[in-house]
């Protein structure tokens, strides 16, 4: 596959997908996806709607019907694992629709996920509220009453409480005001400095490009190109065409 795959040969591979295919019922959604993500990397999955980006994240987490191939996280083959075991291994998921539970308060949503006891990355509530001050003000509000931006912050904050070191973020900038998107980008930058490994699904090329070390372009359920952040400028028009921008 073209492009630079091994940006950091000396850093350990946190996530590895080899020839991964996935189905929703009888419908095949992924066709032999191959890529790996190294520790501390931010990798963006780009592509049009229906390219298979969200399905790739859901496949990693075991949220699809059937999957084949090799999916390894933290050196463990997780292809047959149930979702909760994958999450407890250290994989945090921020779904496309934010997934805030409307009948739980902001703080209940934060406290809901399983905390990985062996992880030193788990943030306390106080640290979360320092990173996202808006959430502190809304801690007792029901999820249903939060704005879109607050829900998105909550969805990201929720997985930071778990101690997950590999974060799967699905279109976190979608439908948000620019100032909120800027705040999220700053939060991701902070996480990057703290050596979190992040796989980011994005439609917003500018947002993805500002954060990612590497960008993978998907089409028809497979990765067709891998670009480093430095290579993006030279191929920007091609990428934009693939994203239908």
């Amino acid at each position: 596959m073209p492009g630079s795959m091994n940006m950091r040969p000396n850093e350990s591979v946190i996530l590895d997908l080899q020839d991964v295919s996935a189905w929703y019922g009888q419908s095949r959604a992924l066709h032999g996806v191959n890529f790996s993500v190294h520790e501390g990397e931010v990798v963006a999955l780009l592509g049009r709607n229906g390219a298979g980006r969200t399905t790739t994240l859901r496949t990693i987490l075991g949220l699809v019907g059937k999957r084949t191939g090799l999916v390894q996280a933290f050196g463990r083959d997780i292809c047959k694992w149930p979702s909760y075991r994958i999450a407890r291994l250290g994989v945090g998921y921020c779904p496309e629709e934010r997934g805030i539970f409307s009948k739980l308060t902001c703080e209940e949503n934060l406290k809901l996920p399983w905390q990985i006891k062996t992880s030193d990355a788990a943030m306390s509530l106080e640290e979360i509220y320092q990173l996202f001050p808006n959430l502190a003000e809304r801690r007792y509000s029901k999820g249903l009453s939060l704005s879109g931006g607050e829900q998105q912050m909550l969805a990201v904050a929720r997985i930071l409480r778990t101690g997950a070191r590999l974060l799967l973020l699905d279109e976190i900038s979608e439908g948000l005001a620019p100032v909120i998107v800027e705040g999220l980008a700053e939060a991701i930058q902070t996480l990057k400095k703290l050596s979190f490994t992040i796989l980011l699904v994005e439609q917003n090329l500018a947002f993805a490009a500002s954060l990612a070390d590497r960008l993978l372009v998907m089409e028809h359920g497979c990765v067709i190109k891998s670009l480093s952040s430095s290579e993006l400028e030279a191929q920007r028009s091609w990428v934009q065409e693939k994203l239908s921008i």
Partner: protein, 287 residues
């Protein structure tokens, strides 16, 4: 009708309402988490009452022991049923849950008939008397049923609304797959929910045994009413099932006083009216 008899009849209605509350609570829990309409709920109510009666009849186990033991045993039975049978139909058409749980009903009822015959059984209890509130003499046991049922409702409400396990249940009702992706073992959660729902039905059966004749048809008769309570109170509202259960028990007894022929029908008339009203409200929202 003399005033004391009037209030006594209302109190009987309140007691029946408490049975409806316990049963509908269990049904709501099961439907909320599993999206299964559990037609075996009535049979479990019968099973609880029969279990209490048989333990007293054959092993001289007293009521208080059975009040604790029966829901636990039936709850464990419910967990086994969920693991072995119910989880095989998740995600399938609703018809499968209807068929499976109806089949369970027939098996449980058939087993009870085979073991203990088709006639009903009465539980002997002599430890309760009556208490007077002015001119009204109220059977102490029924007062106990009302107080205990409300305490059980409160305990379940606190579990669901104020504990971490409860937050898992509330979240699981909204999006069970996402709860799994956040590290919660949703499989264990669904088993526990089913067990708790069944345990509540069994508890209602034990509570009912001293004042109702428990027979294989007891469950069928009460289940139809409980479905009406759940529809009126709301499938996802514990407060709704409390108000609906108590309210319908009282209405049923009031109608029994003045028009006995209508007492078995009134609940379904109310259910029909509520459904029509809700349909009207939904149409207004759409417009």
């Amino acid at each position: 009708m003399p005033l004391n008899l009037f209030f006594l009849q209302l109190f009987f209605g309140l007691t029946n309402g408490c049975f409806y509350v316990l049963l509908s609570l269990g049904l709501t829990l099961v439907f909320g988490m599993l999206r299964i309409i559990n037609f075996s709920h009535g049979a479990i109510f019968t099973l609880g009452g029969t279990f209490a009666w048989a333990a007293q009849e054959y092993f001289a186990v007293n009521y208080w022991v059975m009040l604790l033991l029966a829901p636990i045993v039936i709850g464990i039975f419910g967990i086994i049923i969920e693991r072995v049978l119910i989880r095989r139909i998740y995600g399938l058409d609703d018809l499968y849950s209807v068929l499976l749980t109806l089949g369970l009903t027939l098996i449980i009822d058939g087993a009870i008939r085979s073991a203990f015959g088709v006639a009903g059984h009465s539980y002997e209890q002599t430890t309760f008397g009556t208490v007077s509130f002015g001119p009204i003499m109220v059977p102490l046991y029924r007062l106990w049923v009302v107080v205990f049922s409300l305490l059980v409702w409160l305990a379940v409400w606190l579990l669901v609304e104020r504990t971490k396990l409860g937050s898992y249940l509330r979240a699981g009702v909204e999006n069970a797959k996402l709860v799994g992706a956040l590290g919660i073992n949703i499989s264990t959660l669904t088993s526990l929910s089913f067990g708790l729902g069944m345990g509540l039905a069994g508890l209602a059966g034990v509570l009912a045994a001293p004042i109702k004749t428990i027979s294989p048809v007891s469950g069928e008769n009460i289940l139809v009413v409980v479905f009406a309570v759940v529809v009126i109170g709301g499938m996802d509202s514990m407060k709704g099932t409390l108000l609906a259960g108590i309210g319908l028990g009282l209405v049923e007894s009031l109608v029994r006083i003045y028009y006995p022929e209508g007492s078995s029908v009134i609940i379904f008339v109310i259910m029909g009216a509520v459904l029509l009203l809700r349909k009207q409200e939904m149409k207004k929202v759409e417009i």
